[in-house]
């Protein structure tokens, strides 16, 4: 249960823009364990989607993976040829996007999407066998058998998202990366979909990385949480430890500033400022301009990861030794 199925080591992803290079993923390391649901959270522009795409080596120019290793199935994906990568993609690693409509062919029946996927990746399978597999899967995912001959536009958002998962499962993918899979869905459909993800994980021992900006979704479905801020990993931990004893000041702020339907708060915590531009990110710890606990060392040196629990670490000087941990004198504008 705890062996990593996918290991990211010191990964860098850069985008060339007119105004200079943007480092969207900056020295990220992360282990994804077999059979877990990992919630990757952060605000827009923090690099979470870029990280997800990088895991499948799907970064398009002007972006590129500029450094690091990604270990999967005993091999570093960075050493594979594009052709080897293609057989892996879809077959063992799969990605589900926020808007399923853009991932489905509007002129093709739902069933044909699944059949085509199976026959492309497993040339030995007959069309009849592929069709049977499609039917089984659709039923398993709560899609009525008489609807698999419908076209994507006849499906609702929640049903389309189920089709996307069916495509990933059709080839028995080991790892599914789901990028904001519920963001376009209404709350009830979202809850149904999250229940389904958990069932699939249990049934197929699937490993799922769910990328989301919604900390509530993470609490609902994830076994572990990884928080990103401005291209870097801020905190990683088991879900109970993370929510019970949140350590990184950014994660703390994020949790406190989200209205919670279960609580009667009179005032919301408000974080100062907004997420930085990655074109000119703040030096050292990127959160220090917004951090209520900022110290001198936070402005001069990027913190390492500190162990803050049995399965919990945070990249913050509060939990590390440094000779210059004096509070920062702020010059307010």
């Amino acid at each position: 249960m705890t062996e990593p199925v996918f290991s990211i080591r010191n990964l860098f992803v850069e985008y060339a823009t007119r105004d200079g290079d943007v480092v969207a993923v900056d020295d990220v390391s992360l282990d994804i364990r077999k059979g877990e649901i990992l919630g990757l959270v952060g605000e827009s522009g923090c690099g979470k989607t870029t990280l997800g795409k990088a895991m499948l080596r799907m970064i398009q120019p002007p972006g590129r993976i500029s450094g690091g290793e990604m270990w999967f199935g005993g091999r570093d994906l960075m050493t594979l040829t594009e052709r080897e990568m293609q057989t892996l993609r879809g077959r063992r690693l799969s990605m589900v996007f926020q808007d399923p409509m853009t991932s489905l062919n509007p002129l093709e029946k739902i069933v044909d999407h699944i059949v085509e996927t199976v026959m492309t990746h497993e040339p030995g399978v007959t069309e009849a066998a592929a069709r049977d597999r499609a039917k089984d899967l659709a039923t398993r995912l709560g899609i009525l058998e008489n609807r698999i001959d419908d076209y994507p536009h006849q499906f609702s958002g929640g049903m389309r998202q189920r089709v996307m998962i069916a495509l990933a499962l059709a080839l028995n993918a080991d790892v599914v990366i789901a990028d904001e899979p519920t963001t376009a869905l209404d709350v009830i459909v979202e809850a149904q979909f999250l229940d389904l993800l958990r069932e699939l994980r249990d049934e197929f021992n699937l490993t799922i990385v769910i990328i989301t900006h919604n900390i509530g979704v993470v609490a609902e479905v994830a076994d572990r949480v990884a928080v990103m801020y401005a291209g870097r990993m801020a905190e990683v931990g088991e879900v109970g430890e993370f929510f019970g004893d949140t350590r990184h000041p950014y994660s703390q702020g994020l949790l406190k500033s989200v209205p919670n339907i279960d609580m009667a708060e009179q005032h919301l915590y408000t974080m100062t400022g907004s997420p930085p531009s990655l074109l000119r990110p703040p030096p050292a710890c990127r959160f220090h301009p917004r951090c209520p606990h900022a110290m001198v060392c936070c402005t001069t040196e990027q913190p390492r990861f500190a162990e803050v629990g049995s399965d919990h670490s945070a990249a913050c000087w509060l939990y590390l030794e440094h000779p210059n941990k004096h509070p920062l004198e702020r010059v307010d504008a």
Binding site: I188, V218, V258, N260, D262, M271
Partner: protein
């Protein structure tokens, strides 16, 4: 002077049916049977002065259409909208234009709401130019700077000449709010005003809207899909399903004692940032049906965990007072209607 005890906004029996566009051939074969999307189908509510009424529901529930009908950006098929006792339908164009000064709107996407070629100062000053032409340019600028300060854009002189692309998303939404405030409106219709903002910025916008309400004596119709946000900012809340209000009441009543099975399901489905949390109500089956041919009787009955055959699929439930509460109404045969003895979880046990 209008009577201060009278509601600021009164909406009665509001209906908006959109005709369904059909192809030429379908028209030829199927003549005379025009179908309609019943986006809003018989909605009534009041908003008191300086109150925030939330309008919550899933996509397709008709909540945004209600907002547009209130602002008279859409003509209702049926029903009335009264502002301070004046029926908006009775006004001629010039009178309606003058009344619009008192009702402003904040939409979800600030970038789409702002003209990219107008500076912040011009954008905010523009409604004043139209609605308060008596102001001199200098007076207008002074007022814009004052409003900029009120929405937290300080120093205001610094932002006055900026273009929308030069400021952040959260700041853009502040500009949209400032522009809504410049005509000193009574009512603000806010349609998902914080949905586009970053999570860490949403809290700031919500706090700002709450503060402005006190400072400018504002009344909000706050349209949102996010119940946690609604709970935070609203005084009362109306839950919509397929073009109808199924439950309405104070935030305390509706969140602490949700009565309609749909409200219960909706509240229970909201993800809570606490991994120990468990859902309290079962999820309804399936998804919100097509509003062209809504289900008979109670529109929620095909998905309802307590629906009774022969009752819920036949008769349409009216909004009725929830037992033991002062302001809460719900439209359910088994919870507030004539068939409460059939409710598997009796009301008395829940309270």
């Amino acid at each position: 002077m209008p009577d201060p005890t009278m509601p600021l906004l009164k909406v009665t029996g509001l209906r908006k049916w959109f005709p369904v566009q059909r192809g030429f051939l379908a028209n030829l074969l199927n003549r005379g049977r025009q179908e309609h999307v019943r986006a809003v189908d018989g909605v009534s509510f009041e908003i008191r002065r300086n109150e925030v009424l939330g309008l919550a529901g899933e996509s397709g529930s008709g909540k945004s259409t209600v907002g547009r009908l209130v602002l008279r950006l859409l003509e209702p098929t049926e029903g009335t909208v009264e502002l301070d006792g004046i029926d908006l339908a009775s006004l001629d164009r010039e009178e309606l234009r003058k009344t619009r000064r008192r009702m402003q709107v904040v939409f979800q996407d600030p970038l789409a709401s702002l003209n990219p070629r107008m500076t912040v100062g011009e954008a905010i000053g523009h409604p004043a130019e139209i609605h308060i032409p008596s102001l001199s340019p200098a007076e207008r600028k002074a007022r814009v700077l004052e409003i900029l300060r009120a929405v937290g854009m300080t120093p205001p002189e610094f932002f006055y000449d900026k273009f929308p692309h030069q400021i952040s998303g959260g700041q853009r939404q502040r500009i949209v709010i400032a522009r809504a405030l410049i005509t000193r409106p009574d009512l603000i219709v806010a349609d998902e005003p914080i949905a586009m903002a970053d999570v860490s910025v949403q809290a700031l916008l919500l706090e700002l809207m709450a503060a402005l309400r006190d400072e400018f004596q504002l009344t909000y119709l706050f349209i949102t899909h996010d119940l946690a946000t609604a709970k935070y900012i609203c005084d009362r809340i109306a839950i919509m399903y397929l073009g109808e209000i199924v439950e309405i009441g104070t935030v305390d009543e509706v969140f602490n004692h949700p009565t309609h099975p749909y409200t219960q399901a909706l509240m229970s489905a909201v993800p809570v940032p606490d991994p120990r949390h468990r859902r309290t109500a079962p999820l309804p089956r399936g998804e919100i049906p097509n509003p062209i041919n809504p289900p008979s009787g109670c529109r929620f009955h095909p998905r309802c965990p307590i629906a009774q055959e022969g009752i819920c699929d036949v008769a349409h439930p009216e909004l009725r007072t929830v037992t033991g509460s002062s302001e809460q109404l719900a439209a359910c045969h088994l919870r507030t209607g004539d068939y409460q003895h059939l409710d598997p979880e009796k009301q008395s046990d829940r309270r």
